[in-house]
């Protein structure tokens, strides 16, 4: 009996994805035509809590406030403009076909399903592709200064995994401009009174009463005070869990707490092992490093990736002759070349670095070379396209990419897994929704570039504001539990005990120390390549380290004023429990697909080998009281439109 068989209890929850009937291209239209509505004058009778003010949260809160709902929005940042959506560089996909190169909603849908290695829910992806068109219109109307051509029309660029140009961009700061657009629309509602904003306030628990999400418990980060908030529905738009790796391209404060606390209250966590490793990040330079910085995938439009063929090469890059360079992406994947999808490019880089062909002082990177592009287009054009990225690289690495190639290496970047949601983006807890990176539904086992911004805005602008009405309509004029309900008091008390516990452990090591150690285990055994042996080891190392965390943690300061060490302790605690689930899921999924690569399951050429017979499903876990013993639930994936095929980019 394998470890997996011993510990996983199956099918404890009945999963209903609520996919509407009818042809794929008509499902969303038909849903909207048949959903229940709340009369405009009655919307103000409903209170909706939105946690997180990134693209998904800000757009959902703003749109629901415009519709007339009372919205309470929560962010742990000082302002709603800071969320990590802001750091997305390259762009946002939209199936506009402005280039006349054969793009269409169907093609974007197809590319996304294939890019996700056939592990996403088709109906959700189709809706995403449909909404992509409206998102571009909406954001332009709000004044997002997308790049334009000289004639004044919008410009597009290409991204990995696509053979058309459908990516809209605003220099290398597309995420920033989209988030500021959503933030401004959100701020307008704050000014008009449609949204109450709670900043520097972190979610600590979800309150479920009679099976329905009834509110949340939050901690005011400035005063340490715990507060309860009740509502008719709760939306979590709280991002992904990439910081489980410690070193990642996520912002320092990104964490899994909101999703994890929902999970502990009964929400299923789906596909936790699907994490994306982004191929173009600046390699780690020393041990004190706190995070890794991404260099936009758009650079691969004009940059060529190579390593020296000789592992003992010592000459600077420009002195290495052409015939001693291996442009390995162009060699291995001629039709996509340097624009091969992220998972494939990342693994290719890892293999060469593992073989000793890496470059840089630690031999931990590969070259991304712009010499050809500068010769072909001129320095001015390259500067116009990527100037700010080149500057950023120079500040961090201390090298000028106009003169010598960038050094890049893969790093944890995005998490496709997340809270299980149905077609309406509702978790299995009625009234609890998850949007954006916090849910699992649209990217399968691998996300294509320029699709995260698209999904966040699709969920927030064009999905939730509809689907939430369908849930709220029957609740009209029914009373909901207030914050004096015993469940709220119990959640507050549990939170108080938890934080007092961190403060009184009285150990010797900081939360950062544990986070670093935890990240190392997850990166080594549940990173770019996973094996049964490694995951089994991780599953014995993690609980041991977690025990140490519980007994040897040192948190200084107190719980009654701003205390970032205490905040961190809570987040690391949740990362430990999630880390165990990630490894458990990776161990259970005995196939390779997208970002989940099990060395035991690969083709002769070293590509991912899926097992559609046994694993064409979503693995959704239920909290069982012990992070090592989750209950597994399975949602079978049916493919009507796109036929299951081996994903090839050759």
């Amino acid at each position: 009996m394998s470890l997996t068989d011993q510990l996983l209890t199956q099918n404890t929850v009945q999963l209903d994805s609520k996919i509407p009937a009818g042809p794929m291209a008509e499902k969303w239209t038909s849903y909207k035509e048949n959903m229940k509505l709340v009369n405009p004058n009655n919307k103000r009778k409903f209170k909706v809590i939105v946690v997180g003010t990134g693209l998904a949260g800000a757009s959902a809160a703003a749109t629901m406030a415009e519709l007339g709902y009372q919205v309470d929005a929560f962010t742990f940042h000082d302002s709603a403009r800071r969320a990590h959506s802001i750091a997305a560089q390259g762009g946002i996909n939209g199936a506009k076909n402005y280039k006349g190169d054969g793009d269409s909603i169907h093609r974007l849908f197809y590319d996304t399903v294939k890019g996700g290695d056939f592990r996403a829910r088709e109906a959700n992806v189709h809706r995403l592709a449909e909404n992509s068109v409206d998102i571009i219109d909406q954001m332009v109307a709000q004044g997002v200064p997308f790049a334009r051509e000289y004639g004044g029309l919008l410009d597009n660029r290409s991204f990995g995994g696509a053979q058309v140009s459908r990516t809209f961009y605003a220099r290398g700061q597309t995420g920033q401009q989209l988030l500021l657009g959503a933030y401004q629309q959100f701020s307008r509602q704050v000014g008009l009174g449609g949204i109450r904003l709670f900043n520097r306030t972190e979610l600590i628990d979800i309150v479920v009463i009679d099976g329905h999400a009834s509110g949340i418990v939050v901690r005011d980060l400035v005063t340490g005070e715990l507060q309860s908030h009740a509502a008719h529905a709760v939306v979590l738009a709280t991002g992904g869990y990439g910081n489980a790796f410690f070193l990642s391209t996520n912002a320092m404060a990104c964490n899994v707490t909101a999703a994890w606390r929902a999970h502990r209250k009964g929400a299923l966590f789906a596909n936790p092992c699907y994490t994306q490793i982004h191929p173009t990040c600046i390699p780690q330079s020393d041990d004190s490093q706190s995070k890794l910085t991404l260099m936009s995938e758009s650079l691969r439009n004009d940059g060529r990736v190579w390593v020296p063929t000789n592992p003992n090469e010592t000459r600077p890059a420009h002195e290495v002759p052409e015939n001693e360079r291996d442009y390995y992406l162009e060699r291995l994947y001629p039709s996509f070349g340097n624009l091969a999808p992220r998972d494939i490019s990342s693994r290719a880089a890892k293999r060469l670095v593992d073989k000793g062909q890496g470059v840089g002082p630690k031999k931990n990177g590969v070259y991304l070379d712009f010499a050809d592009a500068i010769n072909r287009l001129g320095r001015d054009v390259v500067e116009e396209r990527y100037g700010n990225l080149f500057e950023m690289y120079e500040r961090i690495a201390g090298e000028n990419p106009y003169e010598q190639p960038m050094r890049i290496y893969p790093a944890s970047h995005y998490t496709m897994g997340g809270l299980w949601v149905d077609y309406e983006l509702m978790t299995n807890i009625p009234g609890l929704y998850a949007a954006g990176e916090a849910n699992f539904s649209d990217h399968g086992a691998n996300r294509l570039g320029a699709s995260a911004l698209m999904q966040g805005l699709s969920d927030g602008y064009f999905v939730l504001p509809y689907t939430i009405g369908n849930y709220l309509a029957p609740m009209l004029n029914k009373s909901i539990p207030g914050t004096d309900h015993p469940e709220f008091k119990a959640a507050e008390e549990a939170a108080r005990l938890r934080f007092n516990g961190y403060l009184s452990t009285g150990g010797t090591k900081s939360p950062d120390h544990f986070h670093r150690e935890l990240g190392k285990i997850i990166w080594d055994y549940c990173g770019m390549e996973r094996t049964k042996e490694g995951l089994t080891k991780a599953l014995s190392d993690l609980p041991a380290l977690y025990e140490e965390f519980k007994t040897d943690l040192c948190v200084t300061g107190n719980g009654e004023s701003m205390n970032q060490t205490l905040e961190k302790a809570g987040r690391v605690d949740d990362f430990f429990q999630l880390g165990m689930l990630m490894c458990r899921d990776a161990l259970d999924r005995e196939e390779s697909c997208g970002g989940h690569f099990r060395s035991e399951y690969q083709t002769e050429e070293g590509e991912a080998l899926r097992d559609d017979e046994n694993y064409c499903h979503v693995s959704a876990y239920q909290w069982g009281g012990d992070p090592m013993k989750p209950n597994l639930n399975v949602e079978k994936l049916e493919f009507e439109e796109v036929h299951l095929a081996t994903r090839s980019y050759k």
Binding site: H77, D137, G143, P145, F146, Q184, V190, G398, P465, T565
Partner: protein, 258 residues
Amino acid sequence: MSHNLKNITLKIWRQDGPQAKGNFETHVIDEITDEASFLEMLDILNDNLVHAGKEAVVFDHDCREGICGTCSLMIDGQAHGPQRGTATCQLHMRQFQDNAVITIEPWRASAFPLIKDLMVDRSAFDRIIESGGYITAETGGAPDANLIPIAKTVADAAMDSAECIGCGACVAACPNGAANLFTAAKVAHLNRLPQGQAERFSRVETMVETMDDYFGSCTNHGECEAACPKEISIDVIALMHKDYRKAKFSNRKDLARK
């Protein structure tokens, strides 16, 4: 790439809360590498403090990519430190000499009350945006994105000021604690675009007046531009003043038609 190790002395501001008395604390950081970022140096300091049973220094930071605008810090009297066009989180130790003594303080401006140590409250910026820093375009019903061509020069100019990260360095650097660069950057972004014309004059009026409720007045020192990590030009302030004057001295209904 060099791997120099440096010894640094930090004189760092500690203050328990807005009402408490603050003071400088001296800490020594040994053998920090050139590749470490300024905030990673503070991470090391904090880790040392926690392991010694002392309270960590509170400071705002998040993306560490120079884009979220959360980080702040007056470093040797300069907002975001000595490197031009660089936010604190993008500053690296190769910018400092061995044995340097570095003074670190919070943003100091009456509109940014101190929370603790190096962290301040910049919510007044949000109040300015809430008063008019947007284009009213409620979700749904937007026309096709290519309906209105926008000259590349106009879109580029709008983008130049839209790059503002809202960090507050301009206010911290200003001897008057004025927020004109921040406010004008948003006015210039939106007022330059065709989509922003409908609310052009009401926008500038409400934003300027909200700004005046919280911040000092601009007297053209230009310190804001020098401190701005995005190097936004003070030209935008002239544009804001021009539009504000137009809004105030003309009949608004007339202006809306132009």
